[in-house]
Amino acid sequence: MNTVIKDHSNAAAEFLQDKERARWHDETLWFVRAKRDKAAHNLDEWEALRNAASQIKEHTLSMLDDYLLEFEAKAKANGVHVHWADTAEEHNQIVYDILQKHKAKNIVKSKSMLTEECGMNHYLIDTGINVVDTDLGEYIVQLRQEIPSHIVLPAIHLKKEDVSNTFHQHIGTEKGNKDEVYLTRSARGVLRQKFLTADAAITGVNFAIAETGGFVVCTNEGNADLGVHAAKVHIACMGFEKIIPKAEHLGVFLRLLARSATGQPITTYSSHFHQPAKGQEMHIVVVNNGRTKQLGREEFRASLKCIRCAACFNTCPVYRRSGGHSYHNAVAGPIGSILAPNFDMKKNADLPFASTLCGSCSNVCPVKINIHEQLWLWRQKLMQDGYVSFAKKSSMKLMAGVLGNPSLYRVGGKLAREAMRLMPWSVNNKLNPWYKQRDLPAPPKQSFREWYIQNKKT
């Protein structure tokens, strides 16, 4: 894909052109956020759970090497093949080699943001392997040759008519039939056939347990289990931060995950894999792809605590109004914006700026990642290292100069008030993007300082 990547603000401007749809997107995600609140408020111990989850993850990060080695040893003893991939390319190569060994041509895949991060689908498809995404939302975006716009709700940028048209074109559903039950059942029919004929199944991993060498995969549709249990080969791909010390910790994380994600008390299926079934082969690929580097960045390492619930997406006023594709990264939203610069500071320098720094993301995060602070810290780092555009950098420098000099600030403020009063067109014009969809209130006659000095004297 050699398409030119638009930066976040330009892509967002495009997203906002369809006002109706943008409003629907905003309201629907806010509705999901509200469901999350209801589920969280139902539990008296919610904050205690968040604290526990955060502490377990912090402890785990401080002993990652021990836990990963323990996990590997236990998994091997369980009869599972464990592979290590330092890079995305190595991950893709490992998966490819396993598939080649089994002469596997038809693959079913359940949701795995890691394989999206590694660009695995394209890699495999280019070698002539058929990869079908079986999560309904991912299946829809795959048919449309798009990528998921949300890590939990992959097709949230689409409306029923889009799905209806896509299915009519690709799987022959009735033209114009937009009934969600009809469309879901039609996909069910097609995908169940894929499960019955697949040579191998690929899944992600929600949690890997050091103590037992097992791993947990959570879905609502049952697609991961249908794929895995029907196929001879199961390949599970995980970023190494998915490790947790003990099985009892699943109690904490499974109570938080679905409630934070969609407001459900738990996903329909929480599947615990420990050994391959009789006649089956099970592989786990443990992936780094830049995570050790992030671990070494003291101010950003907490991003590795993430359990991919997407609560920060749903609450983010910028995500809701710009759509996941504006983030040009496998993981969008606030968490994606603090993970992406670690991969490529140049390409992703715009993402930490795609935020109002309101802090809502940090408040809903079930593992208490200081997301908004990290966004702010990334901005500073990107400025320092010279990855921010000249215009943004020089306007910020100008701003810093004005704000740091009281007399300059006072003169500037007076001039601006006069200009806005006498020549409103000088600021409110097409050249000033601030005025898109909003207006400034009328400028006051005097500044607070002037008012204070005047009133203090009288």
Binding site: M63, W84, E248, T268, Y269, S270, H272
Partner: protein
């Protein structure tokens, strides 16, 4: 240096200073409302629940499905029509024809309607997912309040596979409209066998209700 060694050595170089593991999470369990909570939550996520005192209702359901000509797998050896062993080694295309699967659940969780089904209870790992309708039977005595108690009561690595099942398969991937019945079962029915008639249980219940009793 292979990738495993490289990753581990980089982790050792970059990881933060040691942080303590918090103590096991504990919650005060209100077992009085457990059954009511379980029923309410399971219904809210699309399951149907029946409390029973004997197996008459389950047997009637099995009979009715069989008489309608549907392929039924019964994994409860104490009931008539037990046939789970016939399905252990069946291949996926044969399993796809199965309509109803009846299995025993090991632990049921009141806070979220989830039921733990270990590999030994399902015979074939594909069965609870590929069938059109799933029926799970649990004992009231195996109800717990939260996931913390559930993990205490079960051993996740006893067998190669196990799953918490909470309701029928579902999706809201098309415009956030909830559809019950995605790729897996279209329906989940749960039978809870209560021991309400038993004198012993009545006594045990009475004891629980006495304030200050130990």
């Amino acid at each position: 240096m292979n990738s495993q060694e490289k990753i581990i050595s980089e982790i050792r170089k970059n990881k933060p200073a040691a942080r303590p593991l918090p103590e096991a999470f504990s919650v005060v369990a209100d077992s009085e409302t457990m059954l009511d909570n379980f029923v309410a939550v399971l219904q809210s996520i699309g399951g149907t629940v029946t409390t029973i005192q004997n197996s008459d209702d389950i047997e009637a359901l099995l009979k009715q499905k069989l008489e309608s000509g549907l392929e039924v797998v019964n994994g409860l050896a104490t009931l008539p029509y037990y046939n789970l062993d016939d399905y252990t080694d069946k291949d996926r295309t044969e399993l796809e024809k199965v309509h109803t699967v009846l299995l025993k659940g090991e632990v049921a969780v009141a806070e979220n309607g989830a039921i733990w089904v270990p590999e030994k209870a399902m015979g074939n790992r594909l069965l609870p997912f590929i069938c059109q309708e799933l029926v799970l039977v649990i004992e009231e005595a195996n109800l717990v309040t939260t996931m913390h108690q559930a993990y205490q009561k079960t051993t996740v690595n006893d067998g190669g596979f196990g799953v918490f099942i909470a309701g029928p398969s579902k999706t809201a991937d098309i415009e956030q409209s909830l559809v019950i019945g995605a790729h897996g079962p279209l329906a989940l029915q749960v039978f809870i066998t209560t021991n309400a008639g038993s004198v012993e249980t009545e006594c045990a219940r009475a004891a629980r209700h006495v304030p200050g009793s130990v």
